[in-house]
């Protein structure tokens, strides 16, 4: 059926848009940008902030462009004095109850409220009167909520509910006292929050930030008794450049390694190595389950927010989870055991920092049973988000864009294309299939590209013939999609053998620790696809693209672990889960 086109005029410009379009969308087509604050494509069209108001001929009052549908012959004005003065007043009202510590705010210069206040020439002190005074919620190891900076756009509420189906935050109280919090004012640490950080990445102001570990890392670097090792997750290299004004998804692996070395880390390693290690263990576990009637489908366990999600929401399905630690935790565990021994260091003196596109990793490192080298020796000591790393680089005066391209250190900086695609939805599945297929058939794959599991779709499925076994796989990103697959399992209707789940929509490239993009960019650019493209380009250019071909991985097994899935490997690289419930 052909879509009906609607003709209207915006600021006198004739446009023709599909029926059902909003004024906001139609204006874009006319080359007019209407400012928004609460609107977020696909998840939050609530017309609440009123910054996008426009004049529609014949309408009694102004209307919100983000939700108002176009109609034939409509005449819209987006920049009349009435409209512009209204927007200015709305911004001034928001500013009148906003903690204005902009100079030192973590979102200074990346704050959507600030940009608009500047654009509209606001008087930030126009309205005086009562201001909110909320206690800061910093009860979790990963997130800080300062409602005194919140403008109640509810994008965080929508992200939590729509992307993740977690829905642990919402509006409490009413009128001027309305604020976003957990039910009954419970602290975030006491509810089923999974720590994904999607709320942070959609927040237009500084109301939501990750809990910073920059000071801990700086202290460790300054401590002469600490041997400080850093490792970076796959997605960081396609996000970090954005903090230095590069286009979305620019790959900066070489500059990143150079920067880390200049910051004073004793070893600059790559968590991609640990991703390859994960495949060895997880692939072996999968084959074992298939051949020995183990619990199927088996589900990946790399994404810590996903782990917490299943522990809260499907506590009776934990047997489906792979027992493998995540690449981050394997990274720390192998450093503090194998590598410590190799370089003759007491693991107590080694301080491992992981740089992650993720906030849930800050929680993961605090989980029990994540201390392979012994009690009180955590596998990972500090987790920095991509954003925190950028901030540290700036603070240390490193001119990132002028840096040469450098390599990671050996041996834990060696990785394959299978490791790097861990950053994208479908990547873990593809990496596992590359190894599992060759292990089972004992033959080299004609092609390592499993394209069916690629792409940003929320749920993908495919069926492969692996050594005569039909393997049905599914891949989900975004926990709302994960819930669909888990409900199937719970009802006993899951047709799959192997499921990959990443908490954030599109996978880690779009993680809660990645650079924050404005709503306008989110609404008009497919950020996750753009970053993912860079990841796949890296994979393609790698000389080695299968985890089991990684020479450093082979060495670890030969020198230390024995076989994948060995007793020692289990002790160091595997973990257990907790029935949390709701």
């Amino acid at each position: 059926m052909e879509t009906k086109m609607i003709n209207l005029k915006i600021n006198g410009i004739a446009v023709s848009v599909p029926e059902g379009s909003t004024i906001l969308q139609a204006a874009r087509q006319a080359g007019i940008k209407i400012p928004t604050l609460c609107y977020l494509k696909d998840i939050n069209a609530i017309g609440a902030c009123r910054v996008c108001v426009v004049e529609v001929k014949g309408a009694r009052s102004l209307v919100a462009a983000c939700v108002f549908p176009v109609s034939e012959g409509m005449e819209v004005t987006t920049n009349s004095p009435r409209v512009m003065s209204s927007r200015k007043t709305t911004l001034e009202l928001l500013l009148s109850d906003h903690k204005k510590e902009c100079l030192s705010c973590v979102r200074n210069k990346s704050c959507e409220l600030q940009s608009l206040a500047l654009e509209y020439g606001c008087d930030e002190n126009k309205y005086k009167g009562a201001t909110s005074n909320y206690a800061i919620d910093d009860t979790t190891p990963y997130l800080v909520r300062d409602n005194n900076k919140c403008i109640l756009c509810r994008r965080c509420v929508a992200a939590c509910k729509e992307y993740q189906s977690v829905a642990v935050i919402g509006a409490n109280a009413r009128g001027f006292d309305t604020h976003i919090a957990c039910a009954f004012e419970n602290p975030l640490s006491s509810v089923a929050c999974v720590g994904c950080g999607q709320c942070i990445t959609v927040c237009p102001t500084g109301a939501l930030t990750e809990k910073s570990e920059i000071d801990n890392v700086l202290a460790a670097l300054a401590d002469p008794n600490k041997y400080v090792i850093v490792g970076t997750a796959p997605s960081v290299r396609v996000g970090l450049g954005e903090e230095f004004n590069s286009p979305i998804g620019t790959e900066v692996e070489g500059k990143m390694a150079a920067a880390l070395r200049r910051m004073g880390f004793d070893n600059v390693f790559d968590v991609d190595f640990a991703a390859d290690l994960t495949i060895m263990e997880e692939g072996t576990e999968f084959i074992h389950r298939v051949q020995n009637g183990g619990t199927l489908p088996m589900i990946t366990s790399c994404s810590p927010a996903w782990i917490k999600f299943i522990e809260h929401n499907f506590p009776d399905q934990l047997a489906h989870l792979s027992t493998c630690k995540s690449p981050q935790q394997m990274f720390g565990a192998i450093i503090k055991t194998y590598y410590a021994e190799k370089i003759g260091k007491d693991p107590k003196d080694i301080y491992v920092v992981s740089v992650m596109p993720c906030t849930a990793k800050k929680f993961e490192k605090t989980r029990p049973d994540q201390n392979a080298a012994g009690e009180n020796i955590p596998d990972i000591d500090a987790v920095l988000t991509t954003r925190e790393l950028a901030k540290m680089i700036k603070r240390m005066g490193i001119m990132f864009n002028d840096l040469p391209s450098e390599k990671f250190d050996d041996p834990l900086g060696i990785s394959t294309g299978a490791g790097v695609i861990f950053g994208v939805t479908g990547g873990v599945m593809e990496a596992a299939l590359r190894t599992v297929a060759e292990k089972l058939t004992g033959k080299e794959l004609p092609s390592v590209d499993f394209v069916e599991v690629r792409g940003t779709k929320g749920i993908k499925e495919a069926e492969y013939d692996v050594a005569g076994i039909k393997v049905k796989v599914a891949v989900a990103s975004g926990l709302a999609n994960a819930r669909v697959l888990l409900d199937q399992i719970k009802e006993g209707k899951s047709p799959y053998h192997f499921i990959e789940i990443m908490s954030c929509p599109g996978g880690c490239v779009n993680g809660g620790g990645q650079p924050i993009r404005t709503a306008d960019e989110r609404n008009n650019v497919d950020i996750k696809a753009t970053r993912a493209a860079s990841i796949y380009k890296l994979d393609k250019e790698m000389p080695l693209r299968k985890s089991h071909d990684n020479p450093a991985i082979k060495a670890v097994y030969e020198e230390y672990l024995g076989e994948p899935g060995s007793h020692k490997a289990h002790h160091i690289l595997h973990t257990s889960y907790i029935k949390r419930g709701l």
Binding site: A45, I46, G47, A48, C49, R50, V51, V53, S61, L62, A64, V67, F68, P69, R82, S85, S86, T89, T90, L93, L94, S96, D97, Y127, K128, G129, A130, I151, L152, G170, A171, A173, R174, G175, F176, D177, T178
Partner: protein
């Protein structure tokens, strides 16, 4: 056959005044007098004249006893019911003339009313479906199900000119037509009984006094638009209404007037009650539906309108209680009958809840087009204590005030809007010369600020700032620039808010500014509250020459602000007192205790 009927009001007002025990006492006394077979007692809904409750009416005489107490019951039984002699001292007296009136229908309060919506209130026992049926109840439903096509029902309602009684006055028939025409397999009818305007209680009275009228109308609406399920959203603060509505629904089900295959016609309709938690904003249609769906009661954007995408995303008709209460009679008596009442653009009657500075506090139902003067002076008995009428607020916190200069304007939707107010749900609060209009605006705005859901910026923060401007004015700290900024903010909030609550919240400020700007200016320029209400601008003073120095005021003062001077007024024995304005908390205790008119407030 009973020879006498004793009707005891069981509306919320009289109920709170112990009417349940009065009914009990009647039953006991009647039994003692061996009259149980001859006299029937009936608990009815509200009679309307709440100011003189608890109300008891004895038929066949129609004797109207007011302010009845449990102790009065034996006398009414022994004198009236046994001996046939009216108890004169308990009969209602007109406040204006002091004349004793025997029957309710003879009172000035009732004479000018036309009771369509309230026709059964105070007449039947709302907990007995047979009494409703005896008053032509469910005849309209039978008529539509057996003799009318859905479109004919809508045409009749359209032709009647009935407009929504919940506030905005949207033509009811058009709303039904939109919903009937909307594409959808499942449709709903809903009733807004979340009456939230301060001082309005007509919907409560209908549910308490005539709940079947609403049930019948909703079934008719469901038939007209093609729905099988209805919801009544009632505030939980109306326990009697909720209980009686539930009883009525159960009885209707038992009689086959709700449920499957109603009256054998194949028409199915079920009705459920949903309780509101007391948020004013849930009276807004989209917020109400969001609340029924189990979410936080917040308005959502329109379009889509409920007729297309309402409850649970399905086409929905939502009308308020009073609107529904007209339907059965329009069907039975015809559109022309309904059109014969009211004005050209506002047909039928409207119920008002009279409150504030008025003699006859209560519910009145008048034909549209009745003047404000008739309502307030003739029906309401005017302003008490010889005070001067200043203004009446209609439309509650969303409406505006009507000053004396518009006393003769015929009340209808459009006239009220033209003078800066609105019909709203029908609250009418009367103010006299002792009311400060800035303070009144502050009162209503305080309410809306409290009740804002907090979703959109203009309402959440804008109205708060507006209230802060009013605070500044009433405490004498505002400048003329503030007044100008405040007025601009009012228009901004009206133009930018998401829902009706925000869009109308500044109306009380704008309408008082329109008619009483001089009062605002007096507060700002002269630092005076002309009505003597705004405490910060008041000063209590002792006129020393009138003061006998008794010291009573000093003993009453809670703030130790009063002390003795060394001045003895001529002819007095003790030294006069004085008030330290820096300590005075302006409670007025000194002034009310002084018997010598020595203390004034200015």
């Amino acid at each position: 056959m009973y020879r006498s009927h004793v009707l005891v009001c069981g509306g919320t007002g009289c109920h709170s005044n112990n009417s349940a025990n009065i009914l009990k006492a009647f039953n006991e006394e009647i039994a003692k007098a061996n009259l149980t077979a001859d006299v029937q007692t009936v608990q009815t809904g509200c009679f309307g004249l709440c100011a003189v409750g608890p109300v008891v009416i004895v038929y066949p005489e129609g004797a109207f006893y007011s302010c009845v107490k449990v102790e009065d019951v034996p006398e009414i039984v022994s004198e009236h019911l046994v001996k046939g002699r009216l108890v004169e001292r308990l009969l209602y007296k007109e406040k204006a003339t002091g004349k004793t009136v025997k029957a309710l229908s003879e009172t000035n309060f009732y004479k000018k009313q036309t009771r369509v919506v309230l026709r059964n209130c105070g007449v039947i026992n709302p907990e007995n479906i047979d009494e409703y049926i005896a008053m032509d109840g469910y005849q309209a439903l039978i008529k539509v199900l057996t003799k009318m096509q859905p479109q004919e029902v809508i045409d009749e309602v359209l032709a009647s000119g009935l407009r929504g009684r919940g506030g905005a006055g949207f033509p009811t028939g058009r709303k039904w037509q939109f919903t009937k025409d909307a594409v959808g397999d499942v449709k709903y009818v809903a009733c807004n009984a979340d009456e939230g305007d301060p001082g309005a209680f007509m919907d409560r009275s209908v549910l308490e006094g005539d709940p079947h009228a609403v049930i019948e109308a909703m079934a008719i609406a469901a038939y007209a638009i093609g729905a099988q399920q209805g919801y009544v959203y009632v505030r939980a603060e109306y326990p009697i209404a909720v209980r009686r509505l539930q009883i009525a629904i159960d009885q209707a089900k038992e009689y086959g007037l709700l449920g499957k295959n109603i009256l054998g016609t194949g028409f199915n309709f079920d009705l459920e009650i949903r309780l509101g938690a007391g948020a004013f904003v849930c009276g807004e249609e989209t917020a109400l539906m969001t609340s029924i769906e189990g979410n936080r009661g917040e308005p959502r954007v329109r379009p889509p309108f409920p007729a297309h995408k309402g409850l649970f995303g399905k086409p929905t008709v939502l009308n308020n209680v009073e609107t529904y209460a007209n339907i059965a009679q329009i069907i039975l008596k015809g559109a022309d009958w309904f059109k014969s009442m009211g004005t050209e653009k506002s047909r039928g009657t409207k119920v008002f809840a009279l409150g504030g500075k008025i003699v006859n506090t209560g519910l009145v139902e008048i034909p549209m087009g009745t003047t404000l003067r008739e309502v307030i002076e003739d029906i309401g008995g005017g302003v008490p204590n010889g005070k001067k009428f200043k203004a009446a607020q209609t439309g509650g916190p969303s409406g505006g005030c009507i000053p004396a200069e518009h006393f003769d304007i015929p009340i209808d939707y459009d006239n009220l809007i033209s003078i800066g107010s609105m019909m709203g749900s029908g609250g009418m609060i009367v103010m006299d010369e002792d009311n400060c209009m800035v303070d009144i605006a502050k009162f209503f705005l305080t309410f809306t600020v409290d009740e804002s859901c907090g979703k959109c910026t203009p309402c959440r923060i804008g109205n708060k700032r507006l209230l802060e401007y009013l605070d500044k004015i009433t405490s004498g700290k505002a400048t003329m620039q503030d007044l100008e900024d405040m007025e601009k903010l009012c228009y901004y909030i009206k133009d930018n808010s998401l829902c009706g609550l925000g869009q109308t919240a500044p109306n009380p400020v704008l309408s008082t500014l329109r008619y009483f700007r001089d009062e605002y200016i007096a507060h700002i320029r002269d630092k005076k509250c002309p009505a003597g209400v705004c405490k910060s601008l008041l000063q209590y003073k002792i006129i020393k020459d009138n003061c006998i120095g008794c010291g009573m005021c000093q003993r009453q003062c809670p703030a130790n602000a009063i002390s003795r001077t060394d001045y003895i007024a001529p002819g007095k024995k003790l030294a006069a007192m004085e008030i330290d304005p820096s300590k005075c908390v302006k409670c007025g205790a000194c002034m009310s205790t002084c018997k010598f008119k020595a203390i004034i407030k200015e």
